[in-house]
Amino acid sequence: MLSNTVTEKKSFWSNLRERRTWRLFVISSFILLSILSIFFSLSKGVMDISWSTIWKTFLTSPTDAEQQVLWNIRLPRVIVGALVGINLALAGAILQGVMRNPLADPGIIGISAGAGLTGVIILVLFPQYENLVPIGAFLGAMFAAVMIYILAWKRGIQPIRIILAGVAVSAFLGSWISALMIFYSDRVHGALMFMVGGLSARSWNHVDMIIIYSLIGIALAIIGTRWMNILLLGDETARGLGLNVERTRILMTAVASLLAASAVSVVGLLGFVGLIVPHAARLLIGNDYRFLVPASCFLGIAVVTFSDTIGRLVFAPVEIPVGIIMGVVGAPFFLYLLRRET
């Protein structure tokens, strides 16, 4: 390009217009946002905690009441929120690619409902195996994904049928969850919280429960970025380039199911995160999964921890589950995307 040969000092803004710099700038901003949201969440609540106390707690062992609140209540909740944000955002980003549908979100198309159903079955009927909930939820999510594919398949993947099939699968599996919760209402604590998705009273146990599965899912999502990029070129072109399209689709759907399942295991049916986050990231940096995956991760952290904190604060001491906030923001966003696509 001509402008490159001209030796002129470029301003900050003209540098930004170069795509590489711009993408790194956006990702850095998301990292900053996620850090700010985490600190915001740690410091705000019924008891406000200063940022210096937060630092101290990390450096020394917790002693006084403030530090106990921080260490035993807020920190695990923030970590669970961050993991859930990452997992749902990545699950959405992957599903939108493999299903060729921008509206594919684990909540909307019933993958979360599949995870939720098997999770609830274990909690209700085999409570002694509670630590197997994420694995059970993964199997449920995969089952839902297979159902969606079978229902939507007609000469290849039909984007519209994916959503229609997904809504049906979601309603079908969701009604079984409701039924179980009615029959075993004595055994299901916080049933309502599960149905809308909330982070209330999430503890270190919940962190332990999903951290391994989340890390595996995130690692696989990062490994899969190149395949996702090739898949975006369309099935025929991807096949021409030597991508095993069917295997990639199954594998990446499984990765998305694992991510969604580990989120559902600890927060229930939290919707719209997988829709809002990847789309906001896409609008700013495009479809390249090498950038979309890290951007979604950090924006996911920011969105979920920030929304959860807002939910804790606005009507304190009454908590609004984060799922309600996501629904209020997410449903109009869904409609906006729907209009834009058609």
Binding site: M1, R155, T237, R239, G240, L241, G242, G286, N287, D288
Partner: protein, 276 residues
């Protein structure tokens, strides 16, 4: 030797048998055009040759090996495919797109090597897109976009390139441009070309061999001079055509004059007039 060969293949779409016991052989280094009316099975056959459609019976061989038993990445190193109106995701630059062509040569943890980068800029230059390197593919004209896809295929370093109607939706100048590009790829690098074309005259001018299809069967195969004649056009396309040899290129050229059954009706009408 045959670089690509179909032996007794049956092809069907949703239970409907479209091609039955077809034999086809593609020799290395030549340009082939598949011709035929809509529904004659030409795109279906190309899909089978490019492993985008499974054969019901029979086998497609690439370089002597059964294609469906080969590792798909190994296939992609030998054969590049340009599908009909491929879709580019938004936000993709020409360079991004062309770089994807190195995918079959990379292991999944590998980044682009300096050799890869050289091949990418060679292909961009070869297709005349150097000044478009950082442009978004979606903002290019149809002809430039098609050249970008061809550049991606070139970067695969294939021995054979399959193209499904590469000139559809292009204006006359861009059609010629793409055909010239494809021909020069064949002449300079010896890459075998197999393409589905609608335009008889393009096929005749740029191909070494025409493969004319009718109802899923090969009606005729051979050099344009041998194959493109009144009989072929009438029996396969149902048109009465004038055909002559174009002096400039020494290849047959045709103009379809009227539908064959109309011509027969007119004949009969004339006869009755004379008879009456």
């Amino acid at each position: 030797m045959d670089i690509l060969e179909a032996k007794q293949i049956d092809l069907s779409y949703e239970e409907k048998l479209i091609v039955e016991s077809l034999d086809l052989s593609i020799k290395e280094g030549r340009i082939y055009s598949l011709l035929g009316p809509n529904g004659s099975g030409k795109s279906t056959i190309l899909k089978a040759l490019s492993r985008n459609l499974k054969t019901q019976k029979g086998t497609v061989y690439l370089d002597g090996s059964a294609i469906h038993k080969m590792n798909t990445k190994e296939v992609a190193k030998i054969m590049a495919v340009l599908s009909q109106s491929p879709q580019s995701p938004p936000y993709l630059t020409v360079k991004d797109l062309v770089e994807y062509g190195r995918f079959p040569h990379q292991r999944f943890w590998e980044r682009l090597s300096s050799e890869d980068k050289e091949i990418v800029s060679w292909a961009i230059e070869k297709t005349g897109l150097t000044s478009f390197t950082d442009r978004l593919v979606n903002t290019l004209s149809g002809g430039e976009r098609q050249r970008a896809w061809i550049a991606m295929a070139l970067v695969q370093k294939p021995s054979i390139l399959l193209l499904d109607e590469p000139t559809t939706f292009l204006d006359i100048a861009h059609q010629l441009e793409v055909m010239e590009l494809v021909t020069s790829i064949n002449k300079e690098y010896g890459i075998t070309i197999v393409m589905v074309l609608h335009d008889m005259n393009h096929a005749s001018r740029y191909s070494d061999e025409l493969i004319v299809l009718k109802d899923g069967k090969i009606f005729a195969q051979g050099s344009p001079i041998k194959v493109m004649n009144e009989h072929t056009l009438k029996s396969v396309f149902g048109v009465e055509a004038d055909i002559w040899i174009d002096k400039k290129h020494g290849k047959p050229v045709c103009i379809a004059q009227e539908l064959a059954h109309h011509a027969e009706l007119n004949d009969r009408k004339n006869k009755t007039l004379i008879g009456g």
